[in-house]
Symmetry: C2
C-alpha cells in the first residue's frame, strides 16, 4: 500500500483535507465518466498548482507520430491515442475581483471530496480564505449524465462567510488544450469557430489528421439562495476560447451558485453541419429539466445499473468500497451501447496506453459485461473486433503473412496497430488467441452460437491461418515450434515456444475446425458465404490440423510442469519471498536485461492458460503449476492477481485468494503501484469482479449450465452478487454456513452447487 | 552493386558529369580528413540542391537527449555524438552579382571530381553557364593538412570564358549550423563571438552542455593570373557568421582565384583564452607558406603514409582502387597521434552511429594500425579504453553488477554508454571480450607485454569479474549458462548461450588468470599495485576458474558444429541461395520479428570466434563450421565479409575469398548497401586490409614470429603489402608462382612461409 487517505465508506470514495501532493492522485480516483465521455476530477476554478488536466471523448483519437529511438521494419507510423479534449468544466471564480485558486488561498479548511458511486456524481466542498481575507464556503457538484450522454452539469455554490461581496463567475470553454502524453509536443486540435448565441456558447474544433469534428458547448444559470437570477453577462472570445462573465452581489450568509450545462457533441453521432443545433438541443433539454431533475435522473439511472451489477460484502468496509469502486469505474468507462467504443486500460482517467484497446477487453472484461449487462453488450465488444478484421489482415501482411491471415493489433483505436516496441508489437501475438477465446467464452456463456456463422467464424479462420503460418517445423524436435514470441509475462521477450501461446494457437485451430463443422451442418447459407469469402479449402485445413496435432510444448519431467518457454530451467529459481524487499518492484529497481534473465514473472502466463482452459487439466495439475509458478510471480501487472485469486480459491486456499483479492480490488485506491496519478487501472477492475464471482463464488459455465462452488474469506460475514445468465437474473448470497440463490424470471433452471445439481424455481430463494 | 559512376583509377576516386542525384553520395565518397578533423565533400559555394552538410572535429561531441518510444530501466539519458561543426569551407561566388549555384545554373559541363589519394586533396572542376549567361570555368582544390592538423586550405579558381566580368568572392564562417542527426532538432552550438582582425576572421563557439570551445577561423587571398592582389574587402557580421567580400574585375580569359586558409582550434589543445591567438598563428604559418607549399607538404606527408601502408594490386584496377580507398579513408579518420580520439564507424564522413566508438576498433581496426604504424598508435587505442575503465565500472553498476565489474559501452564518446536499445545496450555484451582480445592481439603482435602490468591487467580483471557475475549456474545442465545476450549477429536478440559470447567469456577469464600469474612472477611491483587496487583475492579467482571450467556450449552432435545459441536447431534452415532475391536485403524487406526467427545471420558470429581463436580449432572444424554457417549468412553488416574472406582463403577457397574481398573493398564505392549518402563504412575498411594481409597473404603471428601462407586471386598479377613487425618493416609481394619478401631494418628475422621456417636477412630480397 502506498497511500491510505481514502476514507472507508461503503458507497462513496471520500477524501478529507486539502493536500497539494494528493491533487493528481485524487484527480484520477475521483474521475467521472458516462461510457461516452469522461474526465479527470480537475477543479472547475483555476488551480495554479500541479495538476493533470484531462477530458476525453470515447472514440475520438489522434494519430500521434511514432517516437522511437531505433526504427525497426514493421513499426507503425503513428500511435492512435485518445486525446485531451476541449475543456468545458472551467468556471473561474472571483470574489471582489480576487481569483479563487486553492493553490494560493491563505487557508483551505474542511476540504472534502466525494465520489458518490451510488448516485453517480462528484462533489467537492471547502472553506477558503482568499488573499483578500474574504472567507467563502464552496460546494461544487458535477456529473456526466448517463441518461443524456452528451451532457455534463455543474453546480458551483458559494457562500461568502465573513462579509458582503461581489461574486463573479466566469464559465468558459477552452479549445486551446494540450496533451500530457504527446510524443512531439504538437497540438492535436484546431479550433474552427468560437461562437455564442445568447448565453449559449460553442467552441467548434476538429482533431488534426483524423478530422473528428467536436462542438464543445455550455450554457449557465446564476442562482441566489436557490432562486434563478436574471444576471447580465459579458463575453470574451479568443481564437480558442469563449468566456462568459456573470457578476452578482451576495450578502454575507447568502448562497450564490452557477449552474453550468455543458458537454460535447461530435460528428460521430451528428452531421457536421448540425453540431451547433445538436448542442443547442441538449442545452434546451438541460435547462428545461434543471440541475436537480438531471441529478435525480442520474441517480435513478445508476440505481438501475447497481441493481444488476452490485456486489455486496458485509463485514469488510474496505473490501466493499474496493469492489464498488471497480464496478463503478467499469460502468463509467463502458456501457456497451456503441460498438465503435471499447475499454481503454485507463478508461477516461488518464492518457497512459493511449486510451486504446488492448487484449484486456477480450481476456478480462468480457465476463463482467456478459454477466452484468444485456448480452448485446458483449456482442458489441466482439463486433468491434469483427469490424477491424480487414485491418488485422493488413497488419499481418505488413509482417509478411499471406492468404488472409490476421494479426490483431496490440494497441489500437481504429484497427491499425499503434504499438512500437518490437518485442510487443510483433511478438506478443498471444493476443490473437484472446480474440478467439472471447468468442468461445461468449458463446459458452450466452448460448448465442449465431454470432459465429454471422461474424465470429471469419475472425477465427483468419487467426487460425496466422498460427499455421507463424509456426515452423523443427526437424530437430519433429514438432512444430513457435519462435520469437512474448507471452503474457512481458518480463520475457523473444522467447521460443511460450507454452501459453503454443497452447492457445493449437486450441484456436482446433476450435476453428470444430466450429466449421458445426456451421457446415447447421448454417449452410453462412457456411457457403464464409467459405467463399475466405477461400478456405480442405488442403489448408489439413495443414492446420497437422500443426495442431504436432505442436511442441516445453515440459519438465522432473517438476511435472509445462515450462513457460524453452530454456526456463536454465534460470536461477529464487522465490520472491527470498528476494530482498529493497529490490522491488523489480520493474523500478532492475535494469531490463536483469529482469529478462531472472525467473520472475510479471503476470500469470502458464497459469493464464490454466485459467482459460481449466477443464483441460486436473486440479492436481493446476496445483503443481500454481505451486511452481506463483512463488516466482511478482504481479507487476494489474492483470495478474485476479487469475491467481480465482485459482487459489479453486484450490481451497481461501486466505491466499483473499490476499490476491485485496491487491486487485484496492490497487488504485491504495495506489499499490505508485502510479495512480497517471490514471486508474480500468481493465483489471473486471478481474476484481471475477475474483469474487469466479473465485470465491466459484461460478463456471459448462454445458449451458451455471455451477458454483462458494467459499468465503474469514473476515467477511456475507457477500452477494448477481449474474444475468441468458436473460434470467440469478442472485447469489454467500455466508460461511450457507449460500442462498434467488432466481428472477419466468423459468426454472438447473444449476450445479458444489458438484450437485440443484433446481432453482423462479422468484424463490433456495438455501444450500 | 548499386552504383557504378566512380571511374576506375589506381590512385584517385574520380567522378565525371554533374548529377544532382549523386551529390550526397559523392559528398560521402570524396570526404577529406586529417585524423583530427574531417568533412564531407560539400561544395564551397552555395548549393541550393539536396545536400548533407557535415564538418566534424574529432573528440568534440554533444550529449543529445535520448529519444526512445518506451523507456527501459538502465537506458542512458543521452547519446554522445560527434556534431556538425561551424562551417569554414564556405566561399560564395557572384559573377556580375549573379550567384554561382550548380543547382540553378543554366548548364554545367565537364564536371569532374577527384579525390587524389596519393597526395591527399579534393578537386572539383567544371564549366558553368550562369542564369545571366556568363560562362565560367572553375577549379576548386581543398585539403586538410596532415602536417598542421588544425589547418585546411582552399584554392577556388575561376576563369570567365565568354566576357569580362566582376567576380565577387565571399568567404565566410558560419556557426549557425544544424545537425542532420539531432534527436530533438535542438541547436548544439552557441556562438560566443564573431570577430575580425584585418582580413582574419574568427567565430568563437561552444558546444552546449559539453562546453567544448572552438574557434573557427579564416583568412583569404585574392589572385589574378596567379599574382596576389591587394583587394579591398568589406565585412558583414551576423550573430553566428562572418563574411568578407572581395570583388575583382576579370577580363575574359583571366584567372582569378581565392585562396582561403581556415580551420578549427579548440580548447582540447589550447587554453580558452588563447584560441584567437592560436588560430592567428596557424593563419600566419599558412599565409607565409602559401597554398602551393602547403599542398607540397601535404603530398610529402601522404607519401610517407603510403610508403608504409600501401597495398598494390596489379591486374585489377578496381580492386586496386578499392583497397587504396580503404587505406586512405582509415588514415584520414585516425592517425593515432592522440589517445583521446578513436575511430567512429563513419569516421568524418557522416553522422550515423553518432561518430562514436564501437567494438569495431578493438575487433577490426587494431591489426591495421599495428601493422602500418608505429606500435604506439595501437597502444593509444588500448589506452583510450583504459582511460574509460572507471566509466565502464559505473556502467556495469547501473545494471546491477558489483565489486568493480566493468561493462564497456556499446557506443561511447567519453566512456559512458550512449546506446539505447535494450537488446544491444544491455545484451550485446560480447563487446567486453573484444576489449581483452585487443590487448591479447596487441601483445601477441608487438611483444609489448609491459602494457599489461601497466594498464591492461586492470581492464582484464574488471571484465573477468563481469563475466563471472553475468553467468548463472543451471542445475538442469550442471553448467554455467549465459542468458539474455545478443551476439555479433544482431539478427538474434536476447538469446541464451550465444556460443561466441560464452567462448569469449571463458577465454577472457582464463587469459586473465594466466596473465596474473605472469605478472606476479615478472612484475612484482605492478602485481602488488594492481591486486591492492582491485582487491582481487584467491577466493574470487577460484570462482572465476569454476565458471571458466564449467561453461556451457551449445553443440549439435548431428552436424558436429557449435550452435550459434540455444535452440538454433529449431529454426528452419534455408540457404540464402534458395531465398528469392526480391526478399533481400532482409533488413529492408522483412519485419524485425521475421528476421529474428529466421536462420539468417547478419554477420559472422560463431565464425567470428573461429577467426579470433583460429588456433584453438582444427582446419577441419573450421571447414565444418564455415560450411554450416556461411550459406545462411547475409552479410548485412559491413563487418562480415572480411572474416569470411580470410577464412575462405585459409580453407583454400580463393575464388570465394575473392568474392568476399570485392564486397568489402568496394562496399562504399559501389554502394552495395544503398546507404553511402549517409557516409562511408570506415571501420570495416580495416577488415578489407585484413582480407588481403591475413586472407590472401595468410599472415599470422605465433610465438613472436610472423608466418605467411600466400595465395592470389586468379585475376591478379601480383599484390604487395608491408607490415611493421616490432619496428622492422617487411614487404611482401605475392604473384601466382612466388612470393618475394624484403626486410628493412638491421636484424635478420625468422619467418614461416607455408609452414616452413625461412630466415630473412635485412635489406635483401628473398623469393619463396
Amino acid at each position: 500500500m502506498n497511500q491510505d487517505y481514502i476514507q472507508p465508506n461503503e458507497w462513496s470514495i471520500l477524501e478529507e483535507g486539502f493536500d497539494v501532493e494528493r491533487v493528481k492522485s485524487s484527480e484520477s480516483l475521483f474521475s467521472i465518466g458516462n461510457g461516452v465521455m469522461g474526465q479527470r476530477a480537475n477543479f472547475e476554478e483555476n488551480y495554479s498548482g500541479p495538476s493533470f488536466q484531462g477530458s476525453y471523448i470515447g472514440g475520438v483519437y489522434y494519430p500521434d507520430k511514432t517516437k522511437v529511438g531505433w526504427w525497426k521494419n514493421g513499426y507503425p507510423e503513428y500511435f492512435a491515442k485518445v486525446l485531451n479534449a476541449p475543456n468545458w468544466i472551467g468556471v473561474n471564480v472571483f470574489i471582489n475581483d480576487e481569483a479563487l485558486d486553492l493553490f494560493t488561498c491563505k487557508k483551505v479548511e474542511d476540504f472534502k471530496r466525494e465520489l458518490n458511486m451510488k448516485e453517480g456524481f462528484h462533489r467537492r466542498s471547502f472553506i477558503a480564505t482568499l488573499p483578500n481575507e474574504i472567507e467563502i464556503s464552496v460546494k461544487a457538484t458535477r456529473f456526466l449524465s448517463i441518461v443524456e450522454d452528451e451532457l455534463g452539469a455543474i453546480d458551483f455554490e458559494i457562500e461568502v462567510l465573513n462579509s458582503d461581496a461581489e461574486v463573479r463567475f466566469e464559465p468558459y470553454l477552452d479549445g486551446g488544450i494540450t496533451n500530457t502524453d504527446a510524443n512531439w509536443e504538437e497540438r492535436f486540435w484546431k479550433t474552427l469557430e468560437v461562437k455564442s448565441e445568447g448565453n449559449k456558447g460553442f467552441v467548434l474544433s476538429k482533431t488534426l489528421k483524423t478530422e473528428f469534428h467536436v462542438n464543445t458547448y455550455m450554457q449557465s444559470e446564476v442562482l441566489l439562495n436557490a432562486e434563478k437570477q436574471d444576471v447580465d453577462f459579458t463575453e470574451t472570445k479568443t481564437a480558442d476560447s469563449l468566456t462568459f462573465s456573470y457578476s452578482i452581489k451576495a450578502e454575507k450568509g447568502q448562497k450564490v451558485s452557477l449552474r453550468k450545462y455543458a458537454g460535447y457533441v461530435t460528428d460521430m453521432n451528428h452531421k457536421r453541419s448540425d453540431l451547433v443545433e445538436a448542442a443547442s438541443k441538449v442545452l434546451d433539454y438541460a435547462t428545461k429539466a434543471g440541475f436537480s431533475k438531471l441529478l435525480q435522473d442520474q441517480k435513478e439511472a445508476w440505481e438501475k445499473i447497481w441493481e444488476m451489477a452490485d456486489i455486496t460484502i458485509e463485514g469488510d468496509v474496505k473490501a466493499q468500497q474496493g469492489i464498488r469502486f471497480n464496478i463503478f469505474q467499469l460502468n463509467q468507462t463502458y456501457l456497451g451501447k456503441d460498438e465503435r467504443l471499447n475499454i481503454g486500460p485507463k478508461g477516461f482517467t488518464g492518457e497512459k496506453y493511449g486510451g486504446s484497446t488492448y487484449w484486456d477487453t477480450e481476456a478480462y472484461c468480457i465476463p463482467f459485461y456478459m454477466a452484468t449487462k444485456d448480452q448485446q453488450v458483449a456482442r458489441n465488444l466482439l463486433t468491434y473486433r469483427y469490424n477491424h478484421l480487414d485491418k488485422a489482415i493488413e497488419n499481418a501482411e505488413k509482417l509478411g503473412f499471406t492468404n488472409g491471415a490476421a494479426l490483431y493489433p496490440m494497441v489500437t483505436m481504429n484497427g491499425e496497430e499503434s504499438h512500437n516496441e518490437w518485442e510487443i508489437t510483433f511478438e506478443e501475438i498471444h493476443r490473437n488467441g484472446a480474440m478467439v477465446y472471447a468468442i468461445y467464452n461468449y458463446v459458452r456463456y450466452t448460448g448465442d452460437f449465431d454470432y459465429i456463422p454471422e461474424k465470429g467464424l471469419e475472425v477465427m479462420i483468419a487467426i487460425a491461418r496466422f498460427w499455421q503460418q507463424r509456426v515452423n517445423f523443427s526437424e530437430h524436435r519433429n514438432k512444430y515450434v513457435m519462435l520469437g514470441v512474448t507471452g503474457p509475462n512481458e518480463y520475457e521477450n523473444n522467447v521460443h515456444n511460450n507454452w501459453y501461446t503454443n497452447y492457445l494457437a493449437k486450441w484456436c485451430i482446433e476450435y476453428c475446425l470444430e466450429t466449421i463443422e458445426k456451421v457446415k451442418e447447421a448454417y449452410a447459407e453462412d457456411y457457403k458465404r464464409v467459405m467463399g469469402k475466405t477461400r478456405l479449402n480442405e488442403g489448408e485445413m489439413a495443414k492446420w490440423r497437422e500443426v495442431a496435432e504436432n505442436m511442441y510444448f516445453p515440459y519438465s519431467e522432473k517438476h511435472e510442469v509445462f515450462l513457460q518457454q524453452d530454456g526456463f530451467l536454465d534460470k536461477e529459481i529464487v522465490p520472491i519471498a527470498d528476494l530482498d524487499k529493497s529490490q522491488r518492484p523489480i520493474n523500478q529497481k532492475w535494469s531490463w536485461d536483469r529482469i529478462l534473465r531472472s525467473c520472475y514473472i510479471k503476470q500469470a502466463d502458464v497459469l493464464q492458460g490454466f485459467y482459460f482452459f481449466e477443464d483441460h487439466f486436473s486440479k492436481k495439475e493446476l496445483e503443481k503449476h500454481f505451486d511452481y509458478y506463483e512463488p516466482i510471480t511478482v504481479h507487476e501487472s494489474s492483470l495478474s492477481p485476479c487469475v491467481h485469486s480465482i485459482q487459489a480459491a479453486l484450490l481451497g486456499r481461501t486466505k491466499q485468494a483473499y490476499e490476491f483479492y485485496l491487491r486487485t480490488s484496492r490497487l488504485d485506491l491504495d495506489d499499490y503501484n505508485k502510479e495512480v496519478e497517471q490514471g486508474c487501472h480500468i481493465t483489471s477492475m473486471a478481474g476484481t469482479w471475477m475474483s469474487i464471482v469466479e473465485g470465491f463464488g466459484g461460478m463456471r459455465v459448462k454445458d449451458d449450465q451455471l455451477s458454483f462452488n462458494p467459499t468465503i474469506p474469514e473476515d467477511w460475514k456475507t457477500y452477494s452478487f448477481k449474474v444475468n445468465f441468458r436473460d434470467q437474473i440469478l442472485k447469489v448470497k454467500v455466508s460461511a454456513d450457507k449460500t442462498v440463490f434467488y432466481l428472477e424470471g419466468d423459468n426454472a433452471i438447473e444449476i450445479n452447487v458444489n458438484g450437485k445439481a440443484v433446481e432453482l424455481q423462479p422468484n424463490q430463494e433456495l438455501e444450500v
